[in-house]
């Protein structure tokens, strides 16, 4: 039996259907938890952010616009923002790098994204990031997963500001080139 599409589940959530939310939770909790754990490196905090993410979906399902992107990227963006807020409030942990794709459970993303039609995209992303110089990849990782600006990163790593800007720019430009050349056709939001 085909899984119920996310858009349908979001419509049901807007009518107060808790089972629809729990279906999304069953499908995506591990992805959300993975993003939260990547940022927070703390199981309890990652659990809290995971639950907060789904409660946010419960209360704000109407804000999802399928014309602007896919549900999974919207969900993970919500999770990332909540985790970054949590991280900033902690103020006792050091941001970490070099962790991309260090999967504890290699088939987890694959299986989840297969239902979403996005599994190939993760493989392409992994290949593209693998082609960057480590110092470019690390800075992109800090900026994205910790919400750090050029100045934040320069201060954190004790690097000249110009070096940080250049590494991020060149890294992103290369990433875009590889992505545009290699990315499979991205499934549309209403598939």
């Amino acid at each position: 039996m085909n899984p119920v599409p996310e858009l349908k589940l979001l419509q049901q959530i807007q009518t107060g259907d808790e089972e629809a939310l729990l279906t999304l939770h069953t499908r995506y909790a591990s992805l959300v938890y993975s993003v939260a754990y990547r940022i927070l490196n703390d199981r309890m905090a990652a659990e809290e952010v995971t639950q907060d993410t789904f409660l946010r979906i419960w209360n704000k399902a109407f804000t999802f616009d399928p014309d602007k992107g896919r549900f999974v990227t919207w969900l993970l963006t919500v999770a990332r923002r909540l985790a970054i807020d949590h991280f900033r409030h902690q103020q006792r942990r050091e941001p970490r790098t070099g962790l991309l794709f260090m999967d504890e459970d290699p088939v987890l993303w694959e299986n989840t994204l297969a239902t979403d039609g996005s599994a190939d995209l993760r493989r392409t992303l992994k290949s593209a990031l693998g082609q960057l110089q480590p110092e470019q990849r690390d800075l992109i990782e800090l900026a994205y997963f910790y919400g750090m600006t050029h100045s934040d990163i320069a201060e954190q790593l004790d690097l000249p500001l110009g070096t940080v800007k250049t590494r991020i720019r060149l890294g992103m430009q290369k990433l875009r080139q590889i992505w545009l050349a290699d990315a499979p056709v991205k499934p549309s939001a209403d598939d």
Binding site: A29, S30, I140
Partner: protein
């Protein structure tokens, strides 16, 4: 900042890495430059998939039961809030604390006292007029 420099900042802008001053400059210029908007769209489509690079970690199995509990709690709080928001029946005087009762009576009593003073003054004036008309009783 010239156009070339602004275009160079698009990747970092899409990533959210620009500092405030540069971010403001890019945002002020973007609406005027369709090529920059197209470039930004491409970078944003890339950036929105970056969470997939997070190492996979299976979520603990108890999370679903916890979410059910939190939904129940939220439903209970919503019910309480709704009940609190419903119009309440008018409070009857015996449920009011006594000081409130006394304070409520003060304006009424002052009004009655003022009316009595006015009435008494009118009676005195009427009596005086009558006394003059009748020749002062002689």
């Amino acid at each position: 900042m010239n156009r070339e420099e602004l275009l160079e900042r698009i990747p970092a802008y899409a990533l959210g890495a620009l500092d405030e001053d540069e971010r403001a400059a890019v945002e002020a210029w973007l609406p005027t430059d369709p090529e920059a908007q197209r470039l930004l769209k491409e970078y944003r489509e890339l950036v929105e998939w970056l969470p997939l690079a997070a190492p996979a970690q299976p979520a603990p199995s108890h999370l679903q039961a916890d979410l059910r509990r939190r939904l129940n709690e939220q439903r209970g709080e919503t019910a309480k809030t709704s009940a609190a928001d419903e119009p309440r029946p008018a409070l009857i005087p015996p449920t009011l604390p006594r000081p409130m009762l006394r304070r409520d009576w003060i304006p009424l009593m002052l009004g009655m006292a003022a009316a009595l003073v006015v009435l008494f003054a009118a009676l005195l004036l009427a009596a005086a007029g009558h006394h003059r008309r009748t020749g002062g009783g002689s």
